[in-house]
Symmetry: C3
Subunit: 334 residues, 3 copies
């Protein structure tokens, strides 16, 4: 039995139902799949309120005062953890950072026992990152009613706050989604960033969504309904309003049959200023970070005016504050 | 000269005297041995005030506002550290988490120099965990008058806040101690949890205290006066009001002459629903965590109504808040 | 191209100019070189306000309320990090502690991308430690206008807050600098502590500054203008008002031609009570910590009344609070 089967047993209700209360309030955030346009818009509107001009101090609130947030990272992370950490602390929460090595998990306590222990310490919100599919939903199905689970990255499947920050960044530059052509370029098959962005963009009724990768890194078409799967970068970039380059794992390049070596990767799938001329004149360039400059993205493009990469980071904190505030309010009402 | 001799030189006053001021106020918490029934009851009463119903927010206070607590863990820990961390922060303290690898300790700074450095940074309370016997008392004898030392786990010798949380859990279920029969089962010889629980239970005048283990894991009788040492689980459980299973180190099972292999261990010393029928009908089941389900405790029993295991965790935070508040008050009065 | 060349390209303005605003306010603290007597005195005066008698609670303020401080340590540190952490938290800042392994830095994100990411999360002040020369200045030249960089240890080149805490400690014992003879003893060549102390002491117009070391550990005379370079300990200590022993890296002793073995090192360059008789009768003994007792300093001397070593630690927190308050005020005014 694979880990996926373990955590996603047949017959269990879909994650979409899991994340809402009977009243339709957001309780857990596991996936953007099925979360709905209206709820996404409310989160983006809420997040706008946590943005301040760069150079001014970060926005603070006391909406999480008295609450405890645990960052439970079974997979290492610096930037996502820092983003959630700051988001929670700027809202007045106590934050517990726990790095739990997966190998120690095997020997020792089960995931649920770790959860039950922290729940008994009156942690209110768990931010969970895990390399296995299904862990956040599995946890959400087992914790107490007064607890909220936020997915901070799950296998190659879901990274919903990343999806939301991408949507917020696009909306702040483009206003509406309905007429946009969005191109996502790179290792689509292994990218939870691409999956969550695609789920969010489809929910927002984007006009055209193109997923561009070398053949062996293309997604299963069934997993990305409504998207075009392409293997030619120029065709993919033509007229695009938004271009998102994904981080490629260096160890993956050249190691699999049909995956190009590093120079060849940049030549065929790297986004550059030159290549961006094919896109719409006012196209923006996105990247979830950390970047491999010169591999999936030309360094000068990353630093150009078209790039909104650091804005994505800023929007990430705001979006996480909005999600935290939303689930905290759901917990308080229940 | 062994480490124990190093830290427990002849002629030094007993740890019991060390932990009280001349006025009898609690200054350091090193051991429950000799601390006295009245003082334990006061701590348990105090801890009750920090409990809130599960599902409600954690209790907070500002009793440690302006104080600095350093968690100085020379031995790794997730749950005890998290518990002390949350306890201190919910009372308004600044908390400094320091993981000090024992090997680096050997090469580098001596324990006392580390302490003196942190003391000079105006740390008020040190929470110390160490694999060697005598370290917390050794430190307490050397720090300044305005500093408090709390033992968060010391070799196989002492873990006093664990002892207090066990007492609080028992008291909340059983009311009085005088008529109780308590059975502690597992690797008694190497367990600081068992030692501190036994010290606390004897102080509370428990009717009968049984320590049950395979022969090679039995304690030195001199170290546990007033306890029955048993090697037959059924005899030990008969009529017991409280049954506490200890975590067994897997690496220890089957490795020493006379210690049973893993299946045999569960068969002979594992606590199960079936076996609990020998105990009193309303007996409670405890475990300090993390559990090896299916080894020292049957998984279904751990999740049953008899189990108070997650309550122990909740009570742990409350007890640590009570201890912190008590020593903080002692420091303020001096 | 060496790392130093990389980070200190020709033609770039000196670090001294970098750290001040056009109005002469302190914006970054990279080096004490060129910072000026008046500005140092203001920082020391400011730091005095953050000192409280040992045994009383640490001084607190809300001068950094709403600000975010990131401790970005590319080189491990316990004490300097704890000191900056407490300094920032006692002033009300949110503190993000990031240990970035240098090897992961090579594979992954560039230093600047890490910085830009954290800057986009609205970190206001970065405390940076790095084993390479030029990193703090390099960063300071690239971050946004609304960001401040504090050097917490840079190669063998600069450790300015250590220099300031040494000055504060000397001033509190000796009052004025103009008549003092200061002797710094040990591995001068590799010591950023010695470099920053020398820069600070020269700025304060100390009467005589002696750098004493075995021949192979002597500094480049050009790097320490105005200092006497000596190889005879007794000559160096004669009449000194202040004696500062440096930590020697054990792996360095005996490993290089002409560097004495460990016993020989203590015999020739270790500071002892006996040797201190050559110094001024009221001379003070300093050490930046952590100490190798019995190597560069006699253990009994470190614990004697002449020693001001733990005061240095206390003054370190105060000096860092003063630096943080100063740059925070500069950021607020800009």
């Amino acid at each position: 039995m694979s880990v996926t089967e373990l955590f996603r047993p047949d017959g269990v209700a879909d994650d979409r139902d899991l994340q809402l209360t009977p009243n339709g309030e957001l309780k857990h955030l596991i996936t953007l799949n099925g979360i709905g346009k209206q709820r996404i818009e409310a989160l983006l509107d809420h997040a706008e309120g946590y943005l301040s001009p760069l150079g001014e101090q970060a926005v603070r609130s006391n909406e999480l005062q008295g609450m405890t947030v645990a960052n439970l990272f079974f997979e290492p992370s610096t930037r996502t953890r820092a983003s959630f950490d700051l988001a929670a602390r700027r809202m007045g929460a106590d934050v517990l950072n726990l790095d739990v090595n997966t190998s120690s998990r095997k020997k020792g306590e089960s995931i649920l026992d770790t959860l039950y222990t922290l729940q008994a310490m009156q942690v209110d919100i768990f931010v969970v990152r895990d390399a296995s599919s299904g862990v956040p939903a599995y946890i959400a199905r087992h914790v107490g009613d007064h607890i909220s689970i936020l997915n901070a990255g799950e296998s190659n499947l879901s990274h919903p706050t990343q999806g939301l920050l991408d949507l917020l960044t696009i909306r702040r530059h483009k206003g509406k989604f309905e007429n946009l052509t969005v191109a996502i370029v790179g290792d689509i098959a292994h990218s939870r960033v691409a999956r969550s962005a695609a789920e969010g963009l489809r929910a927002m009724n984007v006009a055209e969504l193109r997923l561009i990768s070398p053949q062996p890194l293309a997604p299963d078409p069934a997993s990305v309904p409504g998207c075009q799967i392409l293997h030619d970068l120029e065709a993919g970039l033509r007229g695009a309003d938004v271009v998102m380059a994904l981080r490629i794992q260096r160890e993956r390049i050249g190691s699999l049959d049909g995956i190009p070596a590093i120079d060849e990767y940049f030549a065929n799938f790297g986004i550059s200023r030159e290549r961006m001329k094919i896109a719409a004149p006012d196209a923006i360039v996105m990247h979830p970070g950390p970047m491999n400059r010169g591999i999936e993205i030309e360094s000068a493009l990353a630093d150009s005016k078209q790039s909104v990469i650091t804005e994505q980071v800023t929007n990430g904190v705001a979006v996480r504050m909005a999600v935290l505030a939303t689930v905290a309010s759901t917990l308080s009402n229940s």
